[in-house]
Symmetry: C2
């Protein structure tokens, strides 16, 4: 197993939830990882990752279409959301897809809600007066009891496995678990305990402390990007293809949010054009486009999965 130091890990790169791609931190010494994953030393590896599965049928349908065609290589699931069992069924129909858990402690939409998997009496610091998750990360950061967070994250992993999903990795919806050193530690420890690689954006590296338990389950992922608030709809494809120019040898991740511009998703995302139905349908359009797929080819970018990383770090599933 490799030895990952904090310094080395700091090369993981994302300006999460911001418009621009962080391309300022490039790969160094990443060759060992590419080679250990079975690729050439200088291979440009990309996890092209769809977020938010489970939140709506529209998102499930679009995301599984892209997963099955290979337009994206990986995705993660919001376990507390109403459509979890549709995800479970779709994953049964196409075994082997790379599905992680998009650990969820917020319910951000105005008129469509969910709460936690745990009994609400055991996660009361995470629920509002109406019994739903809060709609923003700040209140979770300020008021979320770390042990209640730990309990809820574990409950989400346990429920996913119970309904037949074998997750390959973890990440954090809305970056909630990257908002404080305490929540971040719970997140990383939960990954370690469950033998699941965790996604860590660059901003979170500031949350590491000297005594942080950095072990083999954290490996550097670089040049990560995603569309953010205020992205220009007119230049959607150019935005993503431009992102590909910044991909360096080693493991990279780009996050997309797939969905159809239909009645359901318009209602879910009402009053919120950013991350809305049109937005998500444009992400789908890009990853399925000839132009984007050709751009990947021309740059010799290879789509890879978290399953490969999980195999490398933990020797596969439990």
């Amino acid at each position: 197993m490799q030895e990952i130091t904090l310094k080395k890990f700091m090369k993981a790169s994302i300006l999460f939830s911001l418009l621009i791609i962080s391309s300022s931190v490039l790969a160094q010494n990443a060759t060992s990882i590419s080679e250990r994953l079975g690729y050439d030393k200088d291979a440009k590896l990309l996890i092209l990752h769809a977020d938010d599965l489970g939140v709506a049928h529209s998102v499930n349908d679009a995301s599984f279409r892209a997963l099955k065609s290979g337009a994206v290589s990986s995705a993660s699931i919001m376990v507390p959301c109403p459509w979890l069992l549709e995800v479970a069924e779709m994953s049964r129909e196409t075994p082997g897809l790379d599905l992680g858990l998009h650990l969820t402690l917020t319910a951000e939409w105005e008129q469509y809600k969910w709460d936690g998997v745990s009994p609400s009496s055991e996660i009361s610091s995470l629920l509002n007066d109406e019994g739903y998750f809060y709609d923003n990360t700040t209140v979770v950061m300020n008021e979320g009891d770390p042990e209640e967070v730990r309990r809820e994250l574990q409950a989400q992993i346990d429920l996913a496995r119970k309904v037949g999903i074998q997750p390959t990795h973890l990440d954090s919806h809305m970056g909630t678990l990257f908002t404080s050193p305490t929540l971040f530690r719970v997140y990383v420890e939960t990954g370690q305990k469950n033998r699941l690689p965790v996604f860590v954006p660059q901003q979170a590296t500031a949350l590491f402390t000297d005594d942080f338990p950095i072990t083999d389950d954290i490996i550097p992922i670089q040049t990560v990007g995603m569309a953010g608030a205020g992205n220009n709809l007119d230049q959607w494809q150019e935005f993503y293809i431009g992102m590909l120019d910044n991909i360096q040898p080693g493991i990279n991740e780009i996050i997309v949010h797939l969905g159809h511009d239909d009645d359901e998703l318009q209602a879910v995302t009402v009053n919120h054009p950013d991350f809305g139905a049109t937005w998500r349908s444009m992400d789908l359009k890009v990853v399925e486009s000839q132009a984007f797929q050709q751009a990947l080819q021309e740059r010799n970018i290879i789509l890879v999965t978290y399953r490969e990383i999980q195999e490398l770090v933990y020797g596969g599933d439990e």
Copy 2:
């Protein structure tokens, strides 16, 4: 206030969840109620009632369209479902609509789920291994703890009021609360406690016992009908117009299930054509049709609401 006897109440008429309309039990002595509601002695009054609001955006959109146009006169809401806050918002936009609570203890769809409003640890007899409501009424009847049912029903009423809904009545999703004398008693007592008229189908009259607390909040509703499993899609409009011929002087109720035949509702109701998306879209088509509205007129049928009954029995809202 009127004195309602069991014998009198038995005239309320529905064969719930069956294909055919029960028209065998007709009104007698019902004139007093019509008159007390401010209508002529022989007036044919109809509560045309849409079920299942809150379950899906598609259902909310279709149901509020029909409520706002007057195509239906009343509806009831599934409080534990993900779209409750959309219902609350829609009801704020059009004040005065006649909205009750469709008390919900089941989550019957295969790939789209919800659980209770109460902490799951306090209603464990109502939840399956995955933490969702069971998908059928039998297990609730057999295993549901009556005091947990009482707690959950109250929690649904409290949450509805908290989010700004002033319910006018109660009924029971899938008739769960009409499956045993014990559950039925909890239901009726919950209505009385909250000063909300309760809908009681004919089958439930067998659940009354001599010591049952029948008081002023139960008044006879007759000739109730709804489309059921196996209904012939080719004769949808004829089915409903035929139902109107059976409407008698007094208060009648017809239950419809409104929705659009769209991607969301098709996915919610997957593998279940009865009560499916096409089915619900046909209910919408009928109640909005010129032919149906003309049939109501020709028969001098007057659409009325539970609000009027609530006013009569309890003097209005709390």
